[in-house]
Amino acid sequence: MMTRLPAPAGLFINRDKPIDFSYEGRRLAGFEGDTVASALMANNEALMSRSFKYHRPRGPLTMAGQDANTLMQVGGEPNVLADQLPLTPGVAVTGQNYNGSLQHDRSSLLGWFGRFMPVGFYYRAFYKIPFLRSFKTWPLWEPMIRKMAGLGVLDLAFTPEYYDKCFLFHDVVVVGAGPAGLMAALTAAHGGASVLLVDEQPQLGGSLTYHRFDIDGVEADKLRADLVAQVEANNNIQVLTKAVCNAWFTDNFLPVIQGKRMYKVRAKECIVASGAFEQHVVFRNNDLPGVMMASAASRLIKQYGVAPGQRAICLTGNDDGYMTALDLQEAGIEVAAVVDMRAEPEQTDVLAALQSRGIAHYAGHTVYEALPSAGNRGIRGAELRAITGQGKVASQGKSIDCVVVCMSSGYMPVYQLLCQAGGQLNYHDGSAAFTLTNLPKHLHIAGSVNGRHALSAVLADGERAGRVALHQLGLSEKVPSDVFCSRQVNFDWPIFSHPKGKDFVDFDEDLQAKDIINATRMGYRDIQLVKRFSTVGMGPSQGRHSALATARLVAKATGRTVTETGVTTARPPFAPEKLAHSAGRMFDPYRRTRMHQRHVELGAQMMPAGNWQRPAYYGTTSQRQACIRDEAWHVRHQVGVIDVSTLGGIELRGPDAVEFLERMYTFGFAKQPVGKTRYAVMTNEHGVVVDDGVACRLSDQHFYVTATTSGVEGVYRNMMKWNAQWRLNVDIANVTSAFAAVNVAGPLAREVLLDMGADIDLSPEAFPYLGFRECTLAGMPARLLRVGFVGELGYEIHVPSRFGEALWDAVMGAGKTLGIKPFGVEAQRLLRLEKGHIIVGQDTDGMSHPGELSLTWALNYKKPFFVGRRSVDILMAQPQTRQLVGFTLPANSLKPEEGHLVLQGDDISGNVTSCEFSPTLDAIIGMAFVGIDQAAVGSKLPIRVDGGKRIFAEVVAMPFFDPDNQRQAL
């Protein structure tokens, strides 16, 4: 049965719109504007989860999505915060991580065995059996322990939904729309800045939506109405509610998550007015449903119109607890006592207000133990004790009946974003107050995160921060002065250990005060080691409520101050965020050539080549070998065409183009005539061959250089890097995607080009092997390269990429009567292997130098320098240890696979880099790195093939096919 308080309580809910939902299979009702947790509280369902380790019942702690107590399973989605999840019609919510039911969790027995599981026990257990030293038991225990661990269950059949991203640019981003944030945003906007205001809640106002700032309880509403109206009327302010700024990245780069979108925000100035997290009091059973932050009780009442329970105690270390008591009483909840851990309140009027309302008051007291109801599913009372010293209480106390304990020991700034920005959190041992220092120049803080707690100071501080931002933006001359605030809100030792334990410091990880102390006694004295040993702060709420208590306990146990002890580092994200938010639309670029559609029409099997898709072969997968052979046969006997658009293309222009080429590649280019191509090998500083291509000279100061498909990005980057130092007068442009290209190869290649209609003389005398021409071909502007990668008469035709498909069609049309056939990457690999041409990256590895690859002919020693020259010289002067050689095996032999090892005795001496059956030669041919004394032609190479069998291949001279290079020079 849903019960609600009368309006004005329930700011967020719309009582006209009831919503049905189910919880643990039970049908319940709430209102639009509810979260699942608030709706559950309205239905008297305070039990929301079971704890991680002891499976203790847990209820809401903050009602603000900042604790792990409300983690639930929503369909296939685990670990959803019910106090943040908006209630939607029909949503089915269940608890998670229980054995039996949420009400009756068999695993809660673990709580009784707590004493058998002291902190760090798993480092001392589960791995051995006494007297049987060598037997390892962890592999047996681990699966059982793993099943116990984990919280919710992930739906493995879930398919990703649409998430996206959006860029925003603002002068000022204000994180947090509480009183400080509202003032900061208004001040900045009035000063002419464009402002983005971000807040997690559905409505602006922050603490003004739930906190009582005055005894009469009228100020917050008035102020909120005024400020929100001003913000809404201001065109300079963009507002994002239900949005969380989830990290601070360098230079105010802020991911703001709202719904299924991540805004990637660039802010010139960022003002964080993120507020402060209320901190709990450590006492026995402080984790049970019914024990909650004072602010959670206020939120329930003010935001959702829900009474947290019918009889409550307020345990406090500051005056805010008194205000909560007034809230409760005003809502008709009986306040059994206000228990102040201090000797007296800061302001006398709050005490008078209690007295005038007849609320019992205990100064210098604490709740020492919450008294559990049946099954620990709630509380039935609390035992009060007088405080006699730091963390010490009198031996006798007094029990008071209640079902709710509201607690507040003070606040910790919401410092996460600021620490991500390099800010330092300082604790002042005298006042128990925090400051944040060392912030970057364009990041500012305001309000309670800045240690200002009185409302007037919070507002003034927000205005100050807005003015500072304006000043930084150059929109204001004045530098405002700091805002003074004397209010103290933190009680310095709200930790009351109980001999029977269950006095929780960390609710996420079920860690009690003694666990933290014991970690230090084990020698883990550094706060980071305490964290790692005990797992404190590692849970879903990342130490929001455990960090301060842990620091205090560790400080005391190790004889240091809290400042010296420090807190553990805050890392992004601020709140748990779905992976989908970071992934967005899953933009995975891949590239198709301009001829892609033609390949598809011809039945090509595509393969990835870097980001590109290339035809592997044309035909069905079952006919793979036959297709490849047929394609190769056509190149050798008639003519074939392959799409080489993916080949890298780089333009070098300028007076220093030659000099640049001379430095980047090993060969000499100074004397390369215009209209000629030259093989270009690139080595890195280690003398290792990293890419190859062909340099074409278009004019004195203009080269077009090709690079490998997968290498061109690196080559281009490398060129830019070097010329950033050399400062040569040359333009370097990666024009890979500006050109589409094919290689027409085979004895009839020239006929194809003649038929296409070229405006140049194609005769071998006029355009010989290794020549380069610019011409018009089939009406298209084209660059022609006479190259011989596959070992036949061949023309690479490069055209502006918009002509790509037209080029393909023209070639296929012209070649139709000549029996032209497209060939794919597989046939090309075979053909070039027959010709003994290496593929950089396949027949080379991260160590291969030109000598090992028999590329010394492509080194020009006459020029003074090329990248890698020094290393190449040293390597060449050393005795060579291995060599890339060609080998053959009879056609009927077992075929080695690429990657199989070459042996020498029992040692590895090398590996097979390429290996194919060559129909042309009717033999298995391949290349392999071998030991230098295995490299002579005629030696027998032991190769270990699949199944461990050794076969013996014969080293032969390369090329395997057409050794005199007659065919490509036709």
Binding site: P118, F126, V153, L156, S582
Partner: protein, 415 residues
């Protein structure tokens, strides 16, 4: 319930009260036989083996922060030996062997868990490289196989076999692949070392190195100066900076490496799965969290800040591999600082300074070498500079003599 838990429960006080893992802080002495700079896994492992196997206990481990707080704390705890080169495979296989017995050796559970590691090949080039790695591994007795799509589906039924237009062609299945509680490795070594008399000094930063006639004679710290017989430098992420204090340069470039972790969910993934084409690896911890790692940041930096760009690409790729993970929630993103060498192999052994020994250049794979590195570095120190055969290939001088040990293909995004 194991026997030991009963024992814990029957004690009236904290059961480990008289058996702390680490001793309380102590004063620095004026002289130590061995000073180890860096109290990470490698440093304390070296100290442990010196004390346990060589009887050398007048040893100080100096740590500027806290024990195991550098890359030991930040790595993703992958243990494997499926490298490319014979030198690498032999070295890491010896490390895996030591790891397997570490819990018993320490009498401290490091939760060594042999899950197997699966690396995915999406291109022909990767298949070739994997075949070679499998062959080299098998040659040295490692359990590594090249497996096909069907076997991959059986091992990881939840894997998307066609992520990001990169169909899974094959996989390198490394049965020896494992994980462990990374912090516990450092703690176990520190415990064993300090129990044998080694001194661990945290919050003790080495500010300078004394060298006389080319030989190290002592170090300066923020807590005073110490003389010593020899120094072992084991400061991953700071190697070249520390070497500069000792007066020499190292062929190292330093990059941040980021990783991230989700909220815990019930177990569904046993093996460690990685894909270098997607720059992503994934594993599920024994707590149920998913841990993701990827490639190093693309520019050199000595800073452990996180970036959005890396998170975006890494998590998109994680979702490509396991689409249902889109619904998982990320809890934490962090970074370590990695000292990369140009051949992706470490630098171990002698330095230009006499009696100043190097343990550096671990890039992204230092954790898995912790035991064998500690053991061999201890041998090096105990023998007064005789380099053990296993680490001889990793000498810094290899960069002068062009005897690099190229592991580039075996490390990218699989750490």
């Amino acid at each position: 319930m194991p026997f030991s838990l009963l024992k814990f429960g029957l004690k009236s006080d904290y059961p480990f009260e008289n058996d702390p893992d680490l001793p309380p802080p102590s004063e620095l002495k004026r002289h130590y036989d061995v000073v180890i700079i860096g109290g990470g896994g490698h440093g304390v492992a070296t100290a442990y083996y010196l004390a346990k196997y060589h009887g050398i206990t007048n040893v100080a481990v100096l740590e500027k922060g806290y024990l195991g707080g550098g890359n030991t704390a930040r790595n993703t705890a992958v243990i494997r030996s499926n490298y490319m080169t014979p030198q690498g495979v032999k070295f890491y296989a010896a490390s895996v062997k030591l790891f397997q017995n570490l819990s018993h050796e320490f009498d401290f559970n490091i939760m060594y868990s042999e899950r197997g590691q699966l690396t995915l090949a999406h291109t022909d080039a990767t298949v070739r490289a994997f075949r070679q790695r499998a062959e080299v591994n098998k040659h040295f007795g490692g359990r590594t196989e090249l497996i096909g799509p069907q076997e991959i589906r059986e091992l990881v039924p939840t894997l998307n076999m066609n992520p990001a237009h990169l169909p899974v062609l094959a996989g390198l299945w490394h049965k020896d692949g494992a994980t462990a509680r990374h912090d516990a490795v450092a703690w176990g070594y520190a415990k064993g070392a300090t129990q044998r008399g080694v001194e661990l000094h945290q919050l003790t930063e080495v500010t300078d190195v004394d060298i006389q006639n080319g030989r190290v004679t002592g170090v300066h710290t923020n807590r005073g100066n110490i003389s010593c017989g020899c120094v072992v430098q084991a400061v991953a992420g700071n190697s070249s900076l520390m070497a500069a204090k000792a007066g020499f340069r190292m062929p190292i470039t330093t990059y941040p490496l980021q990783a991230m972790v989700t909220q815990p969910v019930k177990p569904f993934l046993d093996p460690l799965v990685s894909s270098s084409a997607l720059h992503c690896y994934v594993q599920q911890t024994s707590r149920g969290e998913m841990v993701f790692g990827g490639g190093s940041d693309p520019y050199p930096l000595y800073n452990t800040r996180s970036t959005l760009e890396l998170k975006e690409s890494l998590l998109a790729h994680a979702i490509e591999m396991f689409p249902f993970m889109a619904n998982l929630r990320l809890l934490r993103q962090w970074a370590g600082i990695t000292d990369m060498t140009s051949d992706y192999s470490p630098i171990m052994g002698l330095s230009p300074v006499e009696n100043y020994y190097l343990d550096a250049g671990w890039g992204t794979w230092g954790f898995k070498a912790t035991p064998i590195c500690g053991k061999t570095m201890a041998e090096l120190v105990a023998s007064g500079g005789v380099v053990p055969e296993l680490i001889a290939p990793f000498a810094m001088s290899r960069f002068d003599t062009f005897k690099q040990v190229n592991e580039m293909g075996a490390t990218a995004a699989s750490h």
